[in-house]
Structure formats: C-alpha cells, structure tokens
C-alpha cells in the first residue's frame, strides 16, 4: 500500500530534510508551499534518488478561507495521504512588530491561526481514513516561555503547542497520532542572520529525530534532546527573577 506524506511549508530546510528522509523510507510526498515552482529541482532530485512519487501543491497558509476545501482537493489531485507534517512558520521581526500591526498579525496568524485552521480540517480528514496515520506539528522551544526578544513568535508557537496537545487528546481514541516537535536552534536560512546562537543543529539531525519520535509514537519531542533540560531550567526560573533577565 502506498504511504504518502503531506508537507506543509515544504521550502524550509527542516521540511526538505524531513521530505528526503521520508522518501528514503518509502513514502510518496506532497510538497505544499506558496511558490512550489522553486521546489521543482528538489522534487526532481528526491524523485530520481528514491524512486518515490513527489507532487507539488500550491498552498498559502494565510488564505484560511480556502483551508476547509483543501483536504478533498489534495486527495483528488494527489491521492490519499496518511501523514501530515506542518513545518511552515514565520520568525518575523520582533522589534518591528512592537509597533506594526501588519507584522504582529503576520507572525501570529502564520505560526498559530492558520496552522490551527488547516490542522483542524486535516485531522477530520485523517480520522475518516480508518488506518494508522498522524500529524507532526513543528512548534518551538521559543513557545515554552515568553521572552522579550521574540514573544510574538514565541506566543504563537506556544499556542500551536497547546493546540496540538488538545488535538492529541481529542484524537487519542482514534488511529491518528499527534507529535509535537520543539526544535532548538537549527542551521537554516531562518537563523542564518541571527547572531550569538549556540548549539545549532543541522536540519538532517532534526529530521532524523522527528521521524524516530514519530515511529515510536512519542508525544512531545525536543530536538536535539538537551533542549528538554535547557527549557526545564528556563521554565523553572521564578517570574520575579525572569522578568529582569535579558533573554
């Protein structure tokens, strides 16, 4: 039986690494992105090396009005799919966002609202399949505690993590498994301009961790693993102290 995975936000470095590794373990792929034409070379490469089928699909996360019809459209165009990997996100410019409504809304709706909308419809679709399937949502360690340097991004990713938690709770009697992924710093174009980063992980390593955690039906994955403990420490700092820290 064909296994097919839908990757939302396929142009990101993590998405490419996940896509490549899925193709190597026999998954067909639907790569969904706003401008899928740019992904044609990548899709051709994955298809040639793995022999798996790769479809490109035009998807704009912010166009939430179209989301309700997407599962059916995807199925009709590319066939059934059993795994959804939601990778899209937008780091944005925290400083700009403090006084720019458009930037605030873009960060919050890309990372949370539109993710919640599309995942809701995809969850309904997966439930009807009546076979083991799953949702992998990429949140962030930034969502574990609000910090002055990125609280628009962080709060939206935190909300996504809560949403995934609720979805997992709802779907636990079904065959749909939900994995929440909280990556630390990953070596991607998103982080290329950031300074003072430490413990930066290659996207291939993050992708490997994600797929292993999914196979083992883990619920929440910190990747690389030590971020679980770093965030444990950060969360346990009392608020009266934390509010004075420059993080």
């Amino acid at each position: 039986m064909t296994k097919r995975a839908l990757i939302l936000g396929a142009k990101s470095a993590i998405a490419e690494a996940v896509a490549r590794q899925l193709s190597e373990s026999g998954w067909d792929l639907i790569l969904a992105a706003r401008q899928p034409a740019a992904l044609e070379p990548f899709a051709a490469d994955v298809q040639l090396r793995s022999g798996q089928r790769v479809d490109l699909f035009t998807f704009d996360a912010l166009d939430t009005d179209a989301h309700a019809a997407l599962p059916e459209k995807l199925r009709a165009q590319c066939g059934n799919f059993q795994l959804v990997v939601l990778v899209f996100g937008y780091l944005g410019d925290q400083e700009k966002a403090t006084s720019n409504t458009a930037e605030m809304e873009r960060i919050m709706s890309t990372n949370y609202t539109s993710a919640a909308v599309i995942l809701s419809y995809l969850a309904n679709y997966l439930q009807t399949l009546d076979q083991p399937c799953g949702i992998i949502g990429i949140a962030s360690v930034a969502g574990d505690r609000g910090r002055q340097s990125n609280y628009f991004y962080g709060s939206a990713k935190g909300a996504l993590a809560l949403f995934l938690q609720g979805l997992r709770n709802r779907l636990s009697p079904t065959q749909v498994h939900v994995l929440t992924v909280k990556p630390g710093f990953v070596d991607t174009p998103m982080t290329a301009e950031m300074e003072g980063l430490f413990l930066v992980a290659p996207p291939q390593r993050v992708a490997r961790d994600i797929l292993r955690a999914y196979e083992k039906r883990k619920n929440v994955l910190y990747t690389p693993w030590f971020w679980r403990y770093i965030m444990l420490v950060i969360r346990s700092i009392p608020e009266r102290v934390f509010k004075k820290l420059k993080l």
Partner: protein
C-alpha cells in the same frame, strides 16, 4: 542567503583571501545576485588549487546540488552545478553509468569541472569533459538564464567550457555519461627505467587502453631520470558477480592539522618515492582495481593538502607538444631535480586535441608536480619553468595556477582574444571576475 566576510583559499592553501561568501539555493538567487553590482564569482568546493575560485564576492553553489533529470536509456544526466562528482557517481553507477571524464578527485563540483574543462586519464582517447556536455543553463550578467548548446548560443557555450566561471553562473549541466558494466578497472602496470621508456609505453599502448597515467619518481636523477610506473586501464568488460556495480564508501581518514614544515624534507620525500617505485617488483603486472582507488587515490585522505604545511603549496601542471617532448620533459625534470624541489606527486599523462578557447589540453604530454611553499626562490623558479614551456608552445593549467604572469598567459593561450570578445558580449562590465582573472588581465 547569509552574508559573511570569510577567509578562503583554493586547495593549495595559497593565496589566502578574505571575501564575502553568499549562498544560492534557487535559480532565482543566482538571478538576484547577477543583477547586483560587480564583482561576482560562483564558488563550488574550492578544489582548484590557486586563486581561480577566489574573489571579493563569491556565491557558493554547494546548496544547489540537485539532480534534475536522468535518461537511464541514453545515459544523459541533467543536474545543478553545485553537485559533486561523488554524489553523481553514487546515483548513476547503480544504473550502469559512469563519469565520461573525471579529474583526480571526486569532490569537485560539476560546475567547477565545466569551468575548468577538466581532463582525466582518458584525454588522449576521449577528450575533456566539455566534449560530453550537451547543454548548459547559464545566468549571465543581466540576470537572464540562457539555455545554450552547440546550436543555441554556441559562442556562450564554447566560452563557458573552460571559461573559469567568467561568462556567468553555470546553473545546470546536461552531461552524456559513459556506459559501464562494472565498477572495476582492469589495470596493466608497467615499470619503466627512464623517461624515454615511459613515453614509449604511452605511444605503444594508446590504442589498447582508454586510461593511462604515469607516476614519476621525479627525484631519480641521471640515467634514471623519469623512471615511472605507467598505469594503463580499461573498464572491466565482463564482471563476475562480486565485481559488479559496487559503489565507493564515503569513509575517509583526515589530516587533522597542517603538518610542521620539517615533516616533508627532501629525504623523506625521496624515501617515499623510492618505496613507491619498489612497490612493484615485476616489470609488468595486471590487476583489477575498484574505480575509487584507481581514479581518486588521494580522496581517501581528507585534507591531504595539509601535509605540505600551513604555508600551502603550488601545484604546477604544464602541457608540452609531442614534438621533442622527451627532451623538453627531461629538461624540466632536470631543472626540478637539480633544485631538489620535487614532490610526492609527479604525474605524467598524454593529451589529444581539444577545442575550447581557454581549455588547457593541447596534443602532447602533461606533467604535474606539487611544490611546497617554503623557499623564496620557488616562484621565480616556476616562472623560469614557464619560459621553457612557453618556448616550445606549451602552457600551464589555470585550475592549478596561482602565479602565472599576464604576458605569459596571453602567449600561452592564443584564442584569448576570441574569449574576451565573447565575454564582453555577455558581460560588458566584467561583473564576473576572480583574483586570477584580474591577475591575468582577463577582466
């Protein structure tokens, strides 16, 4: 698309240069960079030895390493320029295909191989890699991506083969591959006593073997000058099961740091060369060797360029015509041994005719050696060798060069003006330039 000022060198670790390195991931990135101001240069894996891959602003193509199309019947592969030969072989070999031409390392990028119009051990029989290129996609200075071939934009196509990246960004390459039924090479080795004998073996065997190379013990003097092991090879024709399409492993041993200067003394090198020569006791031997150790013996040692110390080295590769070839080579080798400046690696091959405006091969012999950068006399000495090479109508290889003078370059490459005219047509303001092209008066 990160922008950073970084230290960069070619494989010879000389010269050292600081410049801005940007990364391209998509065709659109190349278009964007081409439309910004000069100077620009595509940079692959930096396996050219001197300053051909250096510029104040380079665009790394390493993230553009995708396979685009593969015709398994006809053996035509289309791929992005940033892919390495190692990656290409990993994909094509199980389908029964191999690189039509390969240099001595599989870690060069495809784009770099086109830019230097590289040759292999089969130049005398099959020519350079340019002969196997069916089509190129090039982003030129005004930001347009041109598909070019022998019939479409033929001048741009010809100038880009061997054009050292100066005509634009090579985005994609369609390459005709070589069919094989085994990953192994059947090798016939001949031990020779001197240079005359070595050249004679080349002449006698060129009909029977597509690959040939001689490893010269360039420290042997007098009557033994040019004593070699000539290694002749063909792809194994009817393989047994265990000699099928077996891939290379990616395991490497690394040289972790630059060796101290005293590690390679003339004595230690002499010992190495003598031992290498003695490895083969009999005059003629036959063996079957996997393509990886056959074509890429040094790839097993990661960062082998560090063995010459932190000042780096110059690899000198020249080509001289067949006419009086033995005398010319004897003269060159004589000067080198008299200086005591020889190296581990002295490689002699033969070339056939070659098209291409700045392509290196001319019918004749090609000799290459490493010279550790340790003495002040080295660069003047190499200029002196250049004069000898120039005198007989020879030339040196731009992919290895770091020191050639512009007037020597102009004398060595008679089709230079033709190249310049085509470059001007596509890049009138010289957006595409390298340290080397500036030094040689190309830009």
């Amino acid at each position: 698309m990160a922008t950073k000022e970084q230290r960069m060198t070619g494989w010879g670790l000389y010269p050292v240069f600081k410049g801005q390195i940007d990364k391209a991931r998509y065709l659109q990135d190349l278009v964007g960079f081409a439309r910004t101001s000069a100077p620009l240069l595509a940079q692959g894996n930096c396996r050219s030895y001197g300053d051909a891959c250096l510029a104040s602003h380079v665009v790394s193509t390493l993230a553009m390493s995708h396979l685009l199309d593969f015709d398994a019947e006809q053996g035509v592969l289309r791929a992005q320029a940033g892919i390495t030969l190692a990656e290409i072989i990993r994909f094509i070999l199980p389908h029964g295909w191999f690189m039509p031409v390969t240099p001595g390392t599989k870690y060069t990028t495809l784009g770099g191989c086109i830019a230097a119009d590289v040759h292999g051990k089969n130049h005398h029989t099959e020519g350079s890699i340019g002969n196997f290129v069916e089509e190129l996609e090039i982003v030129v200075a005004d930001g347009t991506c041109l598909r070019c071939s022998r019939t479409e934009h033929p001048e741009l196509f010809q100038a880009t083969l061997g054009g050292m990246g100066l005509t634009g960004f090579i985005y994609a390459v369609a390459l005709r591959l070589k069919p094989i039924s085994s990953a192994y090479i059947s090798v016939h080795s001949v031990k020779t006593a001197n240079l005359g004998e070595t050249c004679q073996v080349f002449a006698e065997t060129q009909e029977d073997y597509i690959y040939s190379v001689a490893w010269i013990d360039c420290l042997a003097r007098g009557k033994q000058l040019g004593r070699s092991i000539v290694m002749l090879g063909n792809h194994l024709a009817d393989p047994t099961a265990s000699r099928g399409l077996v891939l290379h492993s990616s395991r490497q041993r690394n040289i972790p740091f630059s060796f101290p200067e005293y590690a390679l003394t003339p004595w230690s090198m002499k010992l190495f060369n003598a031992l290498y020569h003695r490895r083969q006791w009999r005059r003629r031997t036959d063996s079957t060797v996997h393509y990886d150790p056959y074509f890429y013996p040094l790839d097993k040692i990661g960062h082998w360029n560090r063995i010459y110390g932190r000042h780096g080295f110059l690899q000198y590769q020249c080509a001289v015509p067949f006419a009086n070839g033995v005398e010319v080579l004897s003269d060159l080798l004589g000067r080198i041994t008299a200086r005591g400046a020889g190296s581990f690696l002295a490689v002699l091959k033969t070339f056939g005719p070659q098209e291409g405006l700045l392509s290196f091969p001319i019918p004749g012999y090609t000799l290459s050696l490493d010279f550790p950068l340790r003495h002040d006399w080295l660069i003047p000495f190499l200029h002196e060798l250049n004069q000898q090479v120039l005198r007989v109508g020879g030339r040196v290889y731009l992919a290895k060069d770091a020191i050639l003078k512009d007037e020597d370059f102009a004398a060595m490459y008679p089709r230079l003006d033709e190249f310049k005219r085509i470059k001007r047509a596509y890049d009138p303001e010289h957006h595409f330039r390298s340290l080397q092209s500036d030094r040689l008066g190309l830009t």
